[in-house]
């Protein structure tokens, strides 16, 4: 039986497809799914506890030891709540949207290597659900599909604030996908393969093999910022900004459908942390003091430690940073991150040929960056001209000039 190219990279299929390999694959899928679900409940508890510590509160402490069962209790409560569907909504799309949001978050985890390679009864098993040759592109594809859940939920609710949120979400996620993809290209160029297992293997051995250091920190930083925007987490959570849009796209949702959105958000946090670890932090690579006996457990332990560190980092950002204004968020994406990731891609490509090309391209990128900065400043001046400011509709308690100075720090109005 021919398996096709899709499974060609996985050593599990070396002896062809039969019932035992099929059983192993099914066990891997069920195990990953169960671990993901358990991790999500823990992640919700973790976020609430850490945030409450940062805000000098106690946080959930009633259900179970340290409030560990709080998420379970919330889930049961949400499950038995009344399920409302607004009259103005588009019923089919309204029901479809939560699933479109959960499924991509789960599928991404399938290509993440969460451990080393195990040999059981003569079979080599990669500790990851699947290792397709297009591995990392699957992550990009699924994060692109993740947009649908939010934007359709916003539209199908038949309500104003969710619609605004849906429009914001689609614009924001598409914008940041460009920077996300560009940094992934840098990693793929260094590895020479799209498979996540190859990306992890090429970083194994020592900490200076990690892409974080090999690629010079910039792609990793851009990727992390883009991931925060892609998962709509604070400080980029303008999609569900409570102060502007009530609850954003999920305002009209209740009961189990709301729970699914909640689940998808935290699932995304975990899977994207795992993707960051895979691409830039060596995946399951790490120090193993136990020799042969630790060769199975230690990679998994290192992977978990790194992912939990990133989950903590995301929670920390939520506790520490105020929400960004929407236009500034889009400026950051289009005017800073995309040019920076493109420029760094060129520099890395140059250094992969030889040093002279690298230095030459670095100088060219710096020159282009200066030109771009000049263009942005000219464009900014054009935008803040008096003609560019639309006249206000109706009456305002303060003059538009003063309002602009208070909100934007108007350069001309400052000296009055």
């Amino acid at each position: 039986m021919t398996l096709g190219l899709f499974a060609a990279g996985d050593p599990l299929y070396a002896s062809g497809l039969n019932w035992i390999t099929l059983l192993i694959v099914i066990i891997k899928i069920i195990f990953s799914f169960a671990v993901c679900m358990g991790a999500v409940t823990l992640m919700i508890w973790f976020e609430r506890k850490v945030i409450s510590d940062m805000q000098s509160r106690i946080g959930p402490n009633r259900a179970g030891p340290f409030g560990l069962l709080q998420t379970l209790a919330d889930g049961i409560k949400l499950f038995f709540k009344e399920d409302l569907i607004p009259v103005q909504s588009d019923r089919f799309v309204f029901k479809l949207a939560p699933y479109l949001s959960v499924v991509p978050a789960l599928v991404i985890f399938a290509v993440v290597p969460f451990g080393g390679v195990v040999t059981i009864a003569g079979r080599t098993i990669d500790l990851q659900v699947a290792d397709p040759p297009i591995g990392i592109l699957l992550v990009l594809a699924m994060s692109a599909i993740g947009v649908y859940g939010i934007m359709l939920a916003g539209w199908a609710s038949g309500s104003k604030y969710p619609l605004l949120s849906g429009v914001r979400a689609s614009a924001q996620m598409i914008s940041y996908e460009a920077a996300l993809g560009m940094t992934v290209v840098t990693v793929v160029m260094m590895t020479g393969s799209l498979s996540t297992r190859s990306i992890v293997n090429s970083q194994a051995g020592a900490i200076w093999h990690w892409n974080l250091i090999r690629l010079g920190f910039v792609p990793a930083i851009i990727f992390i910022i883009a991931v925060i925007a892609e998962t709509n987490r604070p400080p980029f959570d303008v999609v569900e900004a409570e102060s502007e849009l009530v609850g954003g796209f999920n305002t009209e949702y209740s009961s189990i459908r709301f729970a699914l959105f909640y689940l998808a958000e935290f699932m995304n946090t975990i899977t994207m942390s795992a993707v960051i670890v895979t691409l830039f932090f060596g995946g399951p690579d790490g120090y193993n003091p136990f020799g042969h006996y630790g060769s199975i457990v230690m990679p998994i332990a290192w992977f978990l430690i790194k992912v939990i560190a990133f989950c903590y980092f995301f929670v920390w950002l939520r506790g520490a940073l105020p929400r960004m204004r929407y236009d500034k968020l889009m400026d950051l994406g289009w005017k800073r991150l995309i040019p920076a990731s493109l420029g760094w891609l060129l520099i890395v490509a140059g250094f992969m040929i030889n040093g002279w090309w690298g230095v030459g391209l670095a100088l060219a990128v710096i020159a282009a960056g200066l030109g771009l900065a000049r263009a942005f400043s000219i464009g900014g001046e054009l935008e803040s001209r008096d003609q560019a400011i639309l006249p206000p509709v109706g009456r305002r308690p303060i003059s538009p000039r003063l309002l602009r100075r208070l909100t934007d720090g108007d350069p001309e109005g400052g000296g009055q």
């Binding site: 799309v93 397709p132 003609q387 639309l390």
Partner: protein
């Protein structure tokens, strides 16, 4: 021919995958033209594009499948939906009236001609049922992307660069047009006569 295909057990998974992909494509395509709601039509288009991605995988073109999902389902249809959301959905639009006279009969003729041409090509040349790849045999796991990259940047470099230039021109043109109409609107708008500046 079909019975001989079915007789070989090796082909059964391929046939099942093809049937699933083809069903997705056809259901999606019918949904696109029969939905009265533009958003439903756009979602049906996503189903069609997914079906095409499945067929790409079945043809061992997995890179094209990923790009199909990322670019078409992930970006282009999202932009369609974006525009539909901004312009609003007019449910009462009369779709029985043709915007252009004779549009439907012309459409039928063109579709029949296109189907005839495809069948003729399939009979005459091996354009439809020919070899899987013209740039290299599907061998190792990463041959796919390597072959594609090599063809795009060597044999088909001119077409590739021309497409890139076309896209850049389109983007610049769109920005220029948007800027011009925006500036014209700003000049046309008069300040509100009732508005009074209030001293801070």
């Amino acid at each position: 021919m079909i019975t001989s295909l079915l007789a070989t057990t090796a082909a059964i998974p391929d046939i099942l995958v093809f049937a699933a992909g083809a069903t997705m494509i056809l259901v999606g395509a019918l949904g696109v033209i029969s939905s009265r709601n533009p958003v439903h039509a756009a979602l049906s288009l996503v189903l069609t594009l997914f079906g095409i991605a499945v067929l790409f995988i079945e043809q061992q073109a997995d890179f094209l499948a990923a790009v199909q999902v990322i670019v078409y389902a992930g970006a282009i249809v999202v932009l369609f939906l974006f525009v539909i959301m901004f312009l609003g959905v007019n449910r009462n639009e009369d779709i029985d009236q043709e915007p252009l006279a004779g549009q439907r009969s012309m459409g039928t003729v063109i579709v029949l001609f296109a189907i005839g041409a495809i069948i003729a090509l399939g009979v005459e040349a091996h354009w439809v049922v020919g070899p899987h790849s013209v740039s290299g045999a599907p061998g190792g796991p990463y041959q796919n992307i390597g072959n594609l990259g090599r063809s795009v940047f060597t044999t088909y470099l001119f077409a590739f660069e021309a497409t890139a230039a076309l896209l850049v021109i389109a983007v610049v043109g769109a920005v220029v047009l948007a800027r011009r109409s925006g500036a014209a609107n700003a000049e046309q708008l008069e300040p509100d006569p009732d508005h009074k500046e209030v001293a801070p």
